[in-house]
Every structure is written in C-alpha cells, then in structure tokens.
C-alpha cells in the first residue's frame, strides 16, 4: 500500500511523539534487543555448523543452557529454527531453510 508523503510524515511524527513519551521503556527494550541479537548471533553461528542439541550449543558458546533453550524455542516459534530429530534425551535443532543463507 502506498502512503502519501503527508501521511507518511504524520506517521513518523506520531511515532516520534510516542517514543518520546515512552523513552524509558524504549531505552530498556533497546538494550534488551541488543543482548538478544548478540546471543542469537552466537547460537546461529553454532547451528550453521549443523544440527545441535542445547547442551552442545551451551558448551560451545558459554551461554547457560536454559537461555539457549529459550532462544531456540523463540526462534522455532517464529520459523527461524527447526527441530530436526532426536539425539538421546535431547532434540536437535537446525536453522530453517530460508534463513540459512
């Protein structure tokens, strides 16, 4: 859909205004997002090397296993990671096809 220049401008203005109102939570959430991106990069790097189980990723990255599990779960929900099989008592995860490249 296309917006007129005027509409686009108005949108940006509203967004900025709301952002100013919520400066504190926006800053906090931005910091959270940054952490999330750092962790995700580490996890994805491991998964690009082939399917892995949570303890393997945790050991390789030094991240706590429960955090790895949480991020894997999140990425799985939004189709970035897929479960590919089972290895003993653990499930194996891999990057989803379209995000692999």
């Amino acid at each position: 859909m296309t917006l007129t220049r005027e509409e686009a401008k108005q949108r940006t203005a509203i967004l900025k205004q709301v952002r100013d109102q919520h400066q504190e939570t926006v800053d906090r959430t931005r910091a959270r997002l940054k952490d999330q991106q750092t962790v995700r990069r580490q996890i994805c790097q491991q998964l690009r090397g082939g399917p892995k189980i949570v303890p393997e990723i945790a050991e390789a990255t030094g991240l706590p296993a429960h955090e790895v599990l949480w991020h894997i779960t999140a990425m799985k929900k939004y189709d970035l990671v897929v479960e590919v099989g089972q290895c003993g008592e653990y499930y194996q995860y891999a990057m989803a096809k379209e995000t692999e490249s």
Binding site: M1, R11, T12, I14, L15, V18, R19, H22, T25, V26, T29, R30, R32, L33, Q36, I53, V54, P55, A58, A65, H66, V68, L69, W70, H71, I72, T73, A74, K76, K77, Y78, E83, E89, Y90, Y91
Partner: protein, 444 residues
C-alpha cells in the same frame, strides 16, 4: 475507536470459564450482558491448560467454543483489555461502572489477526501464556485461540520501531491510541475475577523459584499442551527429556507457614491427570507423587485415581521437607516417608512439579464494596443456601473468586450466580411477587 456507553442488565467481571458461563447463562435467557476482561483475550486460566480431568477432553475443545459463543452472542457485549475503574450506585437501583479501555494500539475493527506484525517485530519477550518458557513478540495476537483474534501492542516492551505499522496490510496499527473511559450501566454485577497461583518464590525450602527444574503445575500444563512452547515435555534447564518426574502435593496449600491453611481442591486431580498424560507422552518415565492426603472427591475422580495407580504411577505418602539440586541441576527431594517408618531420604529426579495452590487473585472490597473472608476470597454470608451471594446487594460471585474450585464446580456455580442475578433483576424490576399477590388479592 468510538466511546461507547453500554446499558446492560448484568455486568460480568472476568472472562475466565466462570465469567463466560455466567454471561452465557444470562444471555441465553434473554438478558443483556457486558463481559469485561482485563486481558486482551478472554479464556482465563483454563485456556492455558492441556487436557482436563476426569474426561481428558482437550481443554480447548471445552473452552474455545464457549469463548466463541460469548464473542458471537447477540446479548453479550464483550469488553476485552478493559479495567473497571469506579463503581457508583445508579439512582433507582443498579450500578454505574466506569470502565477504561486500555489502548491496544491496534484498531480492533480493522485488524484481521493475520499476525504479519508479529512476524516482523524484532523483540522476543518471555511469554506469560507459556509461563516464560516460550517467547512472544511485543506486538502479537495473544495466543492461537485468542478471542478476539486480534493483535495488541505491549508498549512497555516495544522499541517503537514502526516495522509492524509498515507490515500491516490493513493499516490497523495506531500508535496514537489513548486510554478511553466509558460507562456501563448494569442492574447487577457478577464477580468472576478468578485466582492466582502460589508464587514461585513462596517457599524457600522448595528453592524459592530459583531451581530451573522445579516448576509449577501450570508450567507442566503448558509443556503437555499441544500448543506448548517446546512441542514436547522437556525440562527447562537444558531441554532434556525427563526420565523421572516427581510431584510435590500441597506445595502452597494446607501450609500454615504461607498463611494458606485451606485445601486448594484441584491439585490432587491435576497432578494425577498430568501424571497420566506424562505416562502417555514419556512411556518410560518414572512418575512419583508425594502427598499427604489424596483428595479425589469429585464425580468420577476416585476411579481416575485408582486408574492412575493401576498405570504404575507411584504414590508416596510423605512430607517433602526440602528441594535442592545436584551439579547436573537435577532436583533432589528430601522427603519423610511417613509409611516407611518416617524415614528421611533424598531422591533425585529430572524434574519436579510443585502442585501449587489457588490464592485469591483480587480483593473486591475497595471497588465493589464486597468484603473478603479470612482466606482472602469473597465473603459469602450464607454459603450453604446462597453460595454465590455476597453481602453487597446486587453483586454476586462465582468461580474461584468464591474460593478454590475446579472447572466443573466453577461452571455450576456460574449457573447459580446467573440464576441469582436474574432473580435479583426480576425482583427489582417488578414489585416482589409476594406483594404482587397481596395487591392482587386486595384489588379482587
């Protein structure tokens, strides 16, 4: 969004199973009902469950049709993501209620629930619906079976990047939305404000919520649910499939140290149900239930308990004194085996489930003028004969707001509250039938 002023016969507060049932029982009689829910979707705690005892029906098979019926009922005005702010008496009887519509930042009439906004949102947050085991985005449809099936934005966890606005195919996102107050006029009110669970940190002896593999039973419901975070039963510390699972009963009920002296009524049955479901999901796993008394008192419940025993689920009468963890984060349960000479032993499991209790979720005193009893649940002056009637005329209570109860008991009491509210309306509307009869006799 337009400011609406709503005139109804009854306001139902709370869109869990009890509130929905009261609303339906009144609306089906022809009364106009407004159902107000603080969350963006109705469904309450019940919609989070996996399967329900003793029939083992899939929980959403029972809940979602009721949610749908509420949403589509001609006589029900559904007010989600709204808070009741103030209540006044209406001249001539009834109530005037100020309600605040919290901003969803999504136009509810335009949104189609396509979730494209959710997919482009960059931030993942712990999902309250999945008890923090899974993730949600800052903008989202609350859960897969939510009613209404519409997105809302959690502005407190949003970076306001605007990607959702760009992605929305129907221009539903509106960052300029503000809270809006409107009034509801109602002849009677039914409180169905539900319950809370024993907080994770309540019991220091059980790890105060710090042990990753000691979870509460609602977490296990999510693990068992087909829509659950992992899609399997895995333990949260490392994603291992547990071989040995233990339940600790009365973890938050019948416990003077927590000030919760009552029995929460549902924990025995939900633990047994979960144990049975786990036996199906993990056929090789050992499942133990540590209990003081098994209270399977409802219709069909004792038979359910006996079936669980026959399936090989181990019931151990014992008081769990402490839970710690070993170096592999396996929870270690220190338990006094009452039937084995009160011997104290330590047993390691892969995962421990605390059968947490039902606590009062909401105190209706200040807003509704309904006092609570010593246990914190709504006071009911004549519990035997009038179990849904509060001390405040015109205000009724149902579900777990009236004390711990299971789904069946909540649904039945919801019908009772609907009957009381209907009778109250009729008696207010028309002079009391006794008086009508006297008048009739006088005029004849």
């Amino acid at each position: 969004m337009t400011v609406k002023n709503v005139h109804v016969d009854v306001l139902v507060v709370g869109g869990g199973i009890a509130g929905m049932q009261s609303a339906l029982d009144l609306a089906d009689q022809g009364y106009r009902v407004a159902l107000v829910e603080k969350e963006p979707s109705i469904g309450g705690k019940m919609i989070m469950l996996s399967k329900v005892f003793p029939t083992l029906d899939c929980c959403s098979c029972i809940t979602t049709p009721k949610m749908s019926a509420v949403a589509h009922h001609d006589n029900i005005e559904l007010l989600t993501y709204c808070d009741v702010q103030a209540i006044g008496d209406r001249p001539g009887g009834g109530f005037v209620i100020d309600v605040v519509q919290k901003p969803r930042y999504v136009d509810i009439d335009t949104c189609t629930g396509c979730r494209q906004c959710e997919y482009v949102c960059p931030i993942d947050l712990p999902s309250q619906f999945d008890r923090e085991l899974g993730a949600v985005r800052a903008i989202r449809v609350p859960f897969s079976t939510a009613v209404p099936q519409k997105a809302f934005l959690d502005i407190d966890n949003c970076i306001l990047c605007g990607k959702c606005q760009q992605a929305c195919p129907v221009e539903a996102i509106d960052f300029a939305q503000q809270p809006e107050t409107f009034t509801v006029e109602a002849g009677a009110i039914i409180l169905a404000t539900g319950f809370e669970l024993t907080p994770a940190g309540a019991k220091a002896e059980y790890g105060a919520g710090e042990l990753l593999n000691v979870v509460d039973a609602l977490v296990m419901e999510r693990l068992l649910a087909p829509t659950g975070p992992y899609g399997h039963v895995l333990r949260p510390s490392d994603g291992k499939e547990p071989d040995s699972i233990a339940y600790v009963q009365c973890a938050g009920s019948r416990d003077k140290t927590l000030g919760v002296e009552y029995c929460s009524r549902v924990c025995c049955m939900y633990a047994i149900k979960q144990a049975m479901l786990l036996s199906g999901a993990l056929p090789l796993a050992d499942i133990t239930i540590y209990y003081m008394d098994i209270r399977t008192f409802g219709k069909g419940h004792e038979q359910f308990y006996q079936n669980a025993k026959a399936m090989g689920i181990e019931f151990v009468k014992g008081k769990v004194a402490r839970i710690t963890e070993d170096e592999d984060k396996n929870p270690v349960v220190r338990v006094e085996l009452i039937e084995d000479g009160s011997k104290v032993v330590e047993r390691a499991h892969d995962l421990v489930v605390l059968s947490v209790g039902m606590l009062p979720g909401y105190n209706p005193k200040s807003l509704y003028g309904v006092p609570v009893a010593d246990d914190g649940f709504a006071a009911i002056p004549a519990p035997n004969i009038r179990p849904s009637v509060t001390p405040k005329p015109g205000i009724f209570v149902t579900g777990a707001a009236a004390g711990p109860m299971d789904i069946v008991d909540s649904i039945v009491l919801a019908g009772a509250a609907a009957a009381e509210a209907a009778a109250y309306l009729e008696e207010v509307r028309t002079p009391s039938p006794q008086r009508a009869a006297i008048e009739e006799a006088v005029h004849a």
